[in-house]
């Protein structure tokens, strides 16, 4: 008698396609992550946390094909003095990368590091911290990441570090995991650029010690068909600063999660994003900020420009724990819908257990202001340029979260380029 075919289980189906890398010090963590993942199961359509974004293509066994994108624009931050760390379809490329030496910083590769004591305490630790909501794609990452970078910042980094993610294979499925540890008072700017792969699963854990400063500016690649699920997990010590900005242009599906635990007093956490999408584009920003200390400030500023049926999602939460007095929490998510087919779905949440706090949140979605458009046109500004000006103005509040003017200008130029290519 034939056995009945076992019911297919998406989590196990996916795991069947993966092999767990062995690198000694992380093995136990990887196994623990796998156990957590099995317990959670990969996200499905009915999961509350995936209500607005279909996880199917992020979960399925193989990466859907993603055509490569070419245009005339040169590499982002090309003129900037930075330390380049290049991955091609998720594989470290030593030839295109700089020497991994930088004053104030120690850099190792996850895949090659034999025994990294500081990292063994951190790898998977911030990810595995629970954080109230299951994040199975991140657990999968911890278990199966094939490479990534371990960065220990002991001082002020001499120059920015730039992860450059090239996408050269239409079916690449990349899983990278980075760990960044900043010692007390240390400072680093991390840049991330490029589409990375047909499907990209990335986790970045950032431990920011007392008085340390972490700046992060990311531009996700322009390949229209790429998919990505990324997570940032960060823990902030007293008087530390964490500022992260993400620009997303194009991409079939992007889910960017950012989980911020503020554990030290007087810390500052800003996370911002600007995205522009045209047509078959789905972009999801999911943020969870936990205040568990005194007098901390958090800001979430997300702006989305959507056209031709593009979809934007924002799920943002501020959790203020008991005793986290004088918390200053701000959250704004807005979309500019350039037509009636596009859609913005937002779920802003505040959960507050302290009585002396100032938290505000707002979410709006709207069209171009016709009065402003006419005013500009009446001065001779052609409609499409006027629309671009108003669109950039709409994005400005998010873009201005980037402190460094050079980085900001470079991203604004990319946005302008996109708007020019997507007129009419």
């Amino acid at each position: 008698m034939a056995e009945p075919a076992p019911k297919s289980n998406p989590t196990e189906d996916r795991l069947d396609t993966l092999a767990m890398p062995q690198n000694g010090w992380a093995d136990a963590t990887r196994k623990a992550a796998l156990a957590r993942l099995r317990e959670m199961g990969l996200p499905g359509r009915r999961d509350e946390y995936w209500k607005f974004t279909r996880p199917d293509s992020l979960v399925q066994s193989t990466a859907p094909v993603a055509a490569l994108f070419h245009n005339e624009e040169g590499p982002l931050f090309g003129d900037l003095d930075r330390l380049k760390i290049v991955f091609v379809d998720g594989v470290f490329d030593a030839d295109q990368s700089d020497d991994l030496t930088l004053s104030g910083v120690r850099i190792d590769r996850l895949a090659e590091s034999a025994d990294i004591h500081w990292a063994s305490d951190l790898y998977g630790a911030l990810e595995g911290n629970g954080h109230y909501v299951p994040r199975p794609l991140a657990a999968l990452n911890t278990a199966y990441a094939t490479d990534g970078v371990l960065i220990h910042v002991t001082d002020r980094a001499e120059k920015p570090i730039n992860f450059i993610y090239l996408h050269e294979n239409e079916t690449s499925d990349a899983i990278l995991h980075h760990v960044i540890k900043l010692d007390p008072g240390a400072e680093v700017t991390l840049l991330e650029t490029g589409p990375a792969a047909a499907r990209f699963n990335k986790v970045m854990e950032v431990d920011v010690a007392d008085g340390a400063t972490f700046h992060h500016v990311r531009a996700q690649g322009r390949d229209h068909e790429r998919r990505a699920a990324t997570h940032i997990f960060t823990r902030l010590g007293a008087e530390s600063v964490f500022k992260s900005f993400t620009l997303t242009v194009n991409g079939r599906l992007t889910r960017n999660e950012c989980v911020i635990d503020i554990t030290g007093d007087d810390a500052v956490a800003h996370v911002a994003g600007a995205c522009v999408g045209d047509g078959d584009f789905h972009h999801d920003d999911t943020v969870f900020v936990t205040h568990d200390a005194l007098r901390c400030e958090s800001r979430q500023v997300f702006k989305k420009v959507l056209r031709n049926g593009a979809v934007g999602v924002f799920q943002g939460k501020i959790l203020v724990k008991e005793g986290a007095q004088k918390t200053d929490g701000y959250q704004i998510s807005q979309s500019l819908l350039l037509d009636d087919d596009s859609q913005f779905l937002a779920k802003p949440e505040l959960e507050i257990y302290a009585d002396d706090v100032a938290c505000s949140h707002g979410s709006t979605s709207g069209a171009i202001d016709e009065d402003a458009l006419f005013y500009l046109r009446s001065r001779g500004v052609p409609a499409e340029i006027a629309t671009d000006l108003l669109t950039l103005a709409f994005l400005a509040e998010a873009v201005e979260e980037i402190e460094d003017e050079v980085l900001r200008d470079a991203l604004v130029e990319r946005l302008q380029g996109w708007l020019e290519r997507h007129r009419g």
Partner: protein
Amino acid sequence: MLNIKDLHVQLEEEDKQILKGVDLTVEAGKVHAIMGPNGSGKSTLSYVLSGRDGYEVTSGQATLDGEDLLEMEPEERAAAGLFLAFQYPVEIPGVGNMTFLRTAVNAQRKARGEDEMSAADFLKVIRERAKALKIDADMLKRPVNVGFSGGEKKRNEILQMAMLEPKMCILDETDSGLDVDAMKLVAQGVNALRNEGRGFLVITHYQRLLDHIKPDVVHIMADGKIVKTGGPELALEVENNGYADILAEVA
């Protein structure tokens, strides 16, 4: 210069006739004033001429130096030399005043096949013209009209006019909400632009602006039509007796 013939306009959204046959010609070098009670259609006329959405021209025509204005996009009308100082200037958060003006000046130059103005030249010219209108550097940097007082907004309109150097300037109640000093500044700004090649259509409620910007011709508009045309003395008549007498006389 500006020729309006039997212009009939209704709202696009509802079946409401607002302009009911406007005839008006403004010659180059002349200042015409339009006065009239609230709701008579003065702003509507200015919007229709500059190309705002929401109005339907059911008959008649409007030309600028023989070119059909009604066929053009708003930006084409601007490049052809038409300028409207808005009754209610629009606030545009996130767009710097200076960026906006430079974009506008260069877009118009480009549309006319002229060279763009360099950033340095532009800066020099705008500083000088802003100074005459007592507009400081801070106002130039701020987002367009955001946080400007009523008077600042109106001066900003005149600055735009000074920078764009239009052929035909329409000013819609540029005096409303201004104190005497601000009105003098605005009037000086306008007078500085008066020359043989440029026409003005000054819409106002009050005679007092016309003490400072001396009109050649004064029209009275009521219920969507020009009902009376005369010289500067007509404005004085309105000032002294209100509209009632004039309207009764033409009824």
